[in-house]
Symmetry: C2
Subunit: 527 residues, 2 copies
């Protein structure tokens, strides 16, 4: 059993502390030495991706300490315990099995009398069969007509991940003739969210995927009712238009209100559920089950890299530890996620949940208060858009914000033209290369308003193209990065008690059981 | 003339420093005293909105110091100078006139021999006439058919603001029978962005709005070429499908490539251009010029509040100063913008640009390095979605993140149902009220994993409904807040030199004039 102890009790954390300010990127990244760093500080990932950390404030000596930390904190052993079925989610006393949805990393995991890998594969197979029948016109609406749209009803992990993945692959699927049907998403309890989607779809030819693990999520059940009501008003039978993705014990599981129900379980947290039926149903319906299978393969391949005990062969672990260095030693409060890919426009929002909900905590896994900072703020928008927005602060603001770039050599849709000697894709790539160097090296100018201090750290993951496989690999990379950081900080990254209090108070408001300021706000809002 | 001096030279800044930690919200917001704060700490805005700051870490004494600061820093005098046409943008030696697009706050401003208010109104009138002709079928495609879609091609301020405003009003317009045509947006130089939009529109019935003040923006000109190429391939004449919004001196101004050209000028920065033709063309085409006029009226009404020298009658100035207190005294690095309105889903992204590009700076308006922190990180997503995502960190993470909530008593679309005794809108409002109190007061629990420390500050702007008027007022509020903060920090909030270096380096990459690490990255990206 790996030993779980607080970050500030690690000997390597003390050593790391002594490294602060050691690497000045304006010097390290200049000249041919800079080119050597770019060649050397690169870790191959799966599916042709590579994690390049040349523009991070590390050198061989820092890496050595990070390697010590990986070993001292037992990161690989802890991951091994996780995928072999230990109760890693201590708060909720649960196994953590999302990696098992895409591959078998260790021993068979049997829980509740079931081989969980077989269970997840079984549900994927059921979803694939259902999707194939929808595409073949064997499962249709009541009039015998094919469904043309799929609408996911879910919130948080049942929305952000699947939505980000859908957007990431929509144009790839169109270019590769695997696009089956458009997907829309209803998440917010704000009734204008459902109204907007209902305004835009042809409900008679839409299939709705209701996603709630517990079957009790306020927003999702409310939106289900709203949608059912709208369908009925159009003379449609909701039970012929809706499937459920839920746990076997949920009230939705055996209901006759649904065309079909697919199952997940308590061992997959919402923010880690894109590879389960939560992502599987909508993505298989939109793009076909083969595309979803490729996405899972990509994630599985990257999971394997995360098992590697060699720091420089384990990109997620390395990324995690550099992040710890930036957060706990260099004191940076945030990380910007900046994919140079419009298709990844909502990937940062997904990482925002995955990271901040996992590691935004002030107690360790034993429920004891800790004395060091944990998860950073995560935000981001696609490049080059962000360049024309918040990059000003990243370049010249008073705080340093580490950056995570992502770039691809090729576009997805194949629509591109040469203008003034370069394609749009080349312009896009030129910009991300330029930004890394502008942030790292800066530029001296006598006019201080035009001066760039530089020494602003970034890494980049470079790939050939955003495909189901590379998307899966990217997802697994960040999931595993967050997991490793949670291990280093001695957190339980798999519960989210911080979301409970608001739910309790909201119920009181709706029951009119409030006083004091809560009643005053409720009155102002006419509740 | 107001005196411009650095924040840390203000006597009131020293006084403010002594206030740190004075207000503990877990106590201040508890019981009936909390209810009294909610009643008392509210400032009326225009259009039925109110800025409530009861859950901020301030009390009468802090407010008194903030009032001193407002006076010492001459905030009202500086605003007066700005709207009367002083060269406030010192870096670029320009006037700052975006408020003039929506109203005359002071004297006539004459620049370049032109009364600028008349100029802006004149362009709005031209746009209104054009839009009316499009809607009436007097301006059509070559086949004499009506346009059904408008596509904005622009990036940064030519994209984020107009897009956020479009999304904010789309369902309001549909519910109020003023919806004229769907709008789409192409921004990123990533060719997949244009490909995605071109995939989804009927180009033969689309009118494109090309927006670039200088007429030289790389992304926008590239996307223009890409779109023109696609139109030609469909046998269409691009000059019959495209209008330009640009400055009178730009290469686009007199081109026969466009159906029409509408003008802005150098006195309106991109991130402040939503009320100029940059927002006006696309919004007037989408919703009709009357709706855009109401939006301008809303902003103008709020601008008037920003002239008020009484701190507690000037919500933007108060918001700004509380933000300074949080940033410079309490040391919080970020602000979360959290509208409880799905229609405002991209409003945080617009504020992210507006704020971070304006005040993300390390030199004062005289180009001298400063010794205090300036603009915070801005990020956000609509509630309740965010509750199921990053709120965990906001509640229980190791950093305090001030929050700006926005809530409305009524939805836009009118589609709502009662489920278990409350409507969706009531559930939405109950959640924002509950969150404010959960953040402020927290909750003691022996299980530290379920403990909420509280004392996490927020404010809320409450309105009746998101309409063109209230949206305009919200926009003006935040524009003016950012302006006042820039005044306090002694910044030039109206240039953006931090975006230049990346542009220069990207050109070098495309010209293959690189060496060292920049060449190494370019090679990795196959440029």
């Amino acid at each position: 059993m790996a030993e779980w102890k607080n970050y500030d009790l690690l000997a390597s954390a003390k050593e790391l502390e002594a490294m602060a300010g050691k690497v000045d990127l304006t010097k390290a990244m200049a000249g041919e030495a800079g080119a050597e760093r770019v060649a050397k500080y690169s870790v191959p990932m799966s599916n042709g991706l590579a994690y390049n950390f040349a523009a991070k404030q590390v050198d061989d000596e820092v890496l050595e300490v990070l390697d010590k930390m990986a070993k001292e904190a037992g990161l690989i052993e802890k991951f091994e315990e996780l995928y072999n079925g230990a109760v890693i989610n201590t708060g909720e006393k649960r196994l953590v099995l999302h990696q098992l949805t895409r591959g078998q990393l260790g021993k068979d995991v049997v829980a509740d009398g079931v081989n969980k890998r077989e269970f997840y594969v079984g549900e994927q197979t059921k979803i694939a069969e259902f999707a194939n029948k929808v595409h073949a016109g064997e499962i249709t609406n009541a009039a015998g007509e094919k469904f043309t749209t799929v609408v996911q009803i879910g919130i948080g992990g049942s929305d952000l991940g699947p939505r980000a993945m859908y957007l990431a692959l929509e144009n790839w699927a169109k270019a590769n003739n695997t696009f089956k049907m458009e997907a829309k998403f209803i998440s917010n309890v704000d009734p204008d969210d459902a109204a907007d989607v209902l305004n835009k779809i042809d409900a008679a030819h839409s299939v709705f995927v209701l996603v709630s693990k517990s079957g009790t999520t306020l927003e999702t059940l409310t939106n289900e009712s709203l949608v059912k009501d709208a369908l009925k008003k159009q003379g449609l039978d909701p039970s012929k238009h809706m499937i459920a993705v839920t746990s076997e014990t949920s009230p939705l599981a055996k209901s006759s209100d649904y065309l079909a129900a697919f199952f997940m379980d308590d061992y997959i947290g919402g923010r880690y559920s894109s590879c389960s039926g939560v992502g599987g149903a909508v993505l298989s319906l939109a793009f076909g089950p083969e595309v979803f299978a490729k996405f899972l393969d990509g994630a599985a391949a990257e999971d394997k890299n995360s098992k590697n005990a060699e720091l420089l062969k384990n990109p997620a672990m390395l990324d995690a530890l550099i992040g710890v260095y930036e957060r706990n030693v260099l004191g940076y409060p945030a990380t910007a996620v900046l994919p140079y890919s419009q298709a990844m426009s909502r990937f940062p929002a997904h990482l925002q949940q995955m990271d901040m909900e996992s590691n935004g905590k002030s107690v360790n896994r034993f429920g004891e208060p800790i004395d060091y900072v944990t998860g950073p703020l995560i935000f981001g928008e696609p490049g080059t858009n962000g360049q024309h927005s918040f990059y000003q602060l990243l370049h010249q603001g008073t705080d340093t914000v580490p950056m995570q770039f992502i770039g691809f050599r090729n576009n997805q849709a194949g629509l591109d033209i040469d203008i003034q000697g370069s394609t749009s894709q080349q312009k896009l790539c030129a910009n991300v290369a330029a930004q890394i160097m502008a942030f790292a090296c800066g530029k001296q100018d006598e006019n201080k308003n035009k001066n760039f201090a530089g020494n602003r750290p970034s890494s980049i993951i470079i790939g050939d193209k955003l495909t189901p496989e590379t998307l899966g690999a990217l997802l697994a990379h960040f999931e595993n990065k967050v997991m490793f950081q949670g291990f280093v900080w001695n957190l339980n990254s798999f519960d989210q008690e911080g979301v409970q209090l608001g739910k309790v108070l909201a119920k009181k408001v709706l029951a009119h059981e409030t006083d004091g300021a809560l009643k005053a706000y409720s009155d102002l809002l006419n509740i």
